[in-house]
Symmetry: C2
Amino acid sequence: MNEGNCIFCRIASGASPARKVYEDEDVFAFHDIHPQAPVHILIIPKKHLASLEETEEADQALLGKLLYVARNIARDFELHRNGYRLVLNTGRQGGQTVFHLHFHLLGGRYLYWPPG
Amino acid sequence: MNEGNCIFCRIASGASPARKVYEDEDVFAFHDIHPQAPVHILIIPKKHLASLEETEEADQALLGKLLYVARNIARDFELHRNGYRLVLNTGRQGGQTVFHLHFHLLGGRYLYWPPG
């Protein structure tokens, strides 16, 4: 899949609608349309990376920024008080359905074990 | 909890036993003692960080490295062929039980949805 037909590239560029939570020059975040918890937000890089498997060593800084933005969004939504879970699915068995790297931030309820 | 009584600090330093998978100057990885999938590995920073909530902006590079090491370990275990899931629990509702930041890498079976 290239950027042109990637739904998350379209969302990050504003070409497709989403309930935006956060945006900076590298990162975009929006509410999942099929929430699995009271708060369920997706955090994505604006750069098209199909999955963690597709990243290179030079993407480490961006990966770290995505996590730190997720941490800050958790604070914005007061999830840091009781806790939250971040999930990164890679490939079909991992449950990845959109092939543009995205972290799921879930909170507002107890998250059970195993994680799927 | 400080470093002295943190079980994951003890594992990373070699003071407590674990089935080690990977080690470098910043990162340590080992098999979870209660695996939830055929492959279930924990990836931790050697530096004591209680959780993602406790990280600071300067920790972004380390967070990115942890993810990239997880990606490389997934390749080592051939998980990249079919897929895998990474999970980061923060706080009690997130399911965090050891307060030293750790990523769960799960693979070798289909990971279901919701993720807990």
